[in-house]
Amino acid sequence: MRGSIYFSLGMHIAILLLAIVTFPKTRELPSLQTRALPVELLTVSEMTNLKRQAKKVAETKKPIITPSEKPVKEEPKPTPPAPKPEAKVEPVKSEPVEEEKAELIPDKTAEKVPEKKEPPKPVEKKPAKKTDTAKKPTKSFDPTNIAALLDKIPDKPKQEDVSETTEEKADAAQTDDPNNPVTLAVSDAFRAQMQKCWSIPAGAANAEELSVNISVYLNLDGSLARPPELTDRARLLTGGPYYRAAAEGVIRAIRRCEPYKLPADSYLGANGWNRLDLNFDPREMLGG
């Protein structure tokens, strides 16, 4: 009698486990629709900027920089005659700096000076004096295509298919729940603001691999409810100085951009923007 009860119980458990294991598999099927959705969304919400993005990609087919647009190189003026040469090779001694005595100054946060709430003084904006004779390029910067900016090779015209590139761009929004126009509108509004604040780690070694995942908690007024939280905090210690600098740069950008202007009616709820999970990925801009 007892044996049959155990057998029956075991069978029930097995069926339940099978149900647990097999049910989630059925949830993966709807992802097949995602590639087509952003095209439909162009007509759904005027708040998205997908249309604008697609147009920008199309524009990049033209070479952004032509040789004639290169900054005018200033001819170096003949400089005063060199001092008379030494008769023999002279040593160039570098005077020692006692770095071993260099100490980390403790952060005396205990001595915090209470910040006075003074009205901000008007800041006089004077044009910064240029100390270098080299003229900087005056071309307008197109942040959507750094890779094209970096690549100034005249003999290798890009043979990108515009339609393909546009499709790839649209795919970038795959994680933004394309089933939900509200989510897409929030994502686009957030991206548009963040683009002005986030400086990519251009020039760093393997910069295209320095993606940073971070969670942001926001108040209804768009300000940060609490400090941004890196998804993988341990990587700050194990990811090396490049990752650390990239992660700190992302945190600076998030702080610099607040308060965020996002649709207030979608603050709460299943797709509310009170919490955002962000992935900062410079790969596309660096052509990686």
Partner: protein, 457 residues
Amino acid sequence: MDGLAKDLMPTRYLLSAFHAARQCLSMAAALILLAVMMAMPARAAIQINITQGNVDPLPIAITDFLSAGPEAKVGTDISTVITNDLERSGLFKPLNKASFIEKLSDINTQPRFGDWRIINSQALVTGQVRLEADGRLRVEFRLWDVLGETQLTGLQFFTTPDNWRRVAHLISDAVYQRLTGEEGYFDTRIVYVSESGPKNKRVKRLAIMDQDGFNPRMLTNGRDLVLTPRFSPNSQEITYLSYRNNNPRVYVLDIETGQQEVVGEFPGMTFAPRFSPDGQKIIMSLQRGGNSDIYTMDLRSRKVTRLTDTAAIDTSPSFSPDGKQVVFESDRGGSQQIYVMNADGSNQHRISFGSGRYATPVWSPRGDLIAFTKLISGQFVIGVMRPDGTGDRVLTEGYHNEGPTWSPNGRVLMFFRETRGAQGGPSLWSVDLTGYNERLVTTVGFASDPAWSPRIQ
């Protein structure tokens, strides 16, 4: 007693059956709850991929270092050197000091971050200079994250008062490293060939200066023609080529001590000597007969090893930073192209396939890129490519650009650019890896063939 036990028996069975049933039910309920929880989607936050940003330089405020007494001017001078260093890197935008709201009087208290946020500063450098009782200068600084309201780093240095400029470069390096994750390159020097006299009769001398063009000095007297100075990657030694009575000799010069020695006198022509990463070998090309091949020479044993053996011209060798590979130029395929081989000469293969003639490849100290000169459509181009030949891109181009040399952190290239005409001559320029931060390097007279030192130890 027995009667009582008998009376209790059915109750006991009933209780135990009830207990078992309850256990089964609670287990089943727990399993169902688990199944339901796993089947329910978690309340997901909106996920956003940020793939577009900008390449704007970081706004940074650098205050005059607090100082008093005879060293009062040094505080301002140090601040100016740091400002110029960071601005020249192209990664930072030092803010105009006239816009500063807070006037600091003590660097050991936290700044009023709000005042610095108003002027859009993201980082703040404060510091002070004091003359110690023993006559040494004590320079200390703090780097603050204005938006995060935290101190990022703080160091102090002791040195002789006339060495303040070097301390300023060391502070620039510390700020640069903390904010970019990459070693700075400001406490470094440049050795170059200083040129004077008419174009057809130039006097060429070895000269040295700080990377920002200050403290220029001549190293040789100009009697002999000097060419291609190259720094050891890990010491303040240079190797160069000097022609005396038309005989080329390879020299090694310790610039700290002034000690100079002839490495070797080779039959035929010698070109482009360069150190191995460990500083123990020199790699160069020697011309014998109609062609030139690549050789290494052990500086201790003076043993010479041949690495290439072709009928073509193989020259301009440069080691990878791990010393395992060598990049060089060769015309063995019919036109001048870039090749890579193992350090023992095996596995020689071509990596450049673009149009034009590629020359003078130099492996980055970071190892990720190879800089080169390319002649295409009458223009000299300075560019970079990955060691496998991919990612070939141009950083700058013009009438005559040549001789790229890497900053020790592999982020900036210096090269020389020649101008046309009888009055024209070479001058030094630098360009970073984006290709957009191109600067003229101030030198005394004309200058060519720069070589960037490692960081001064």
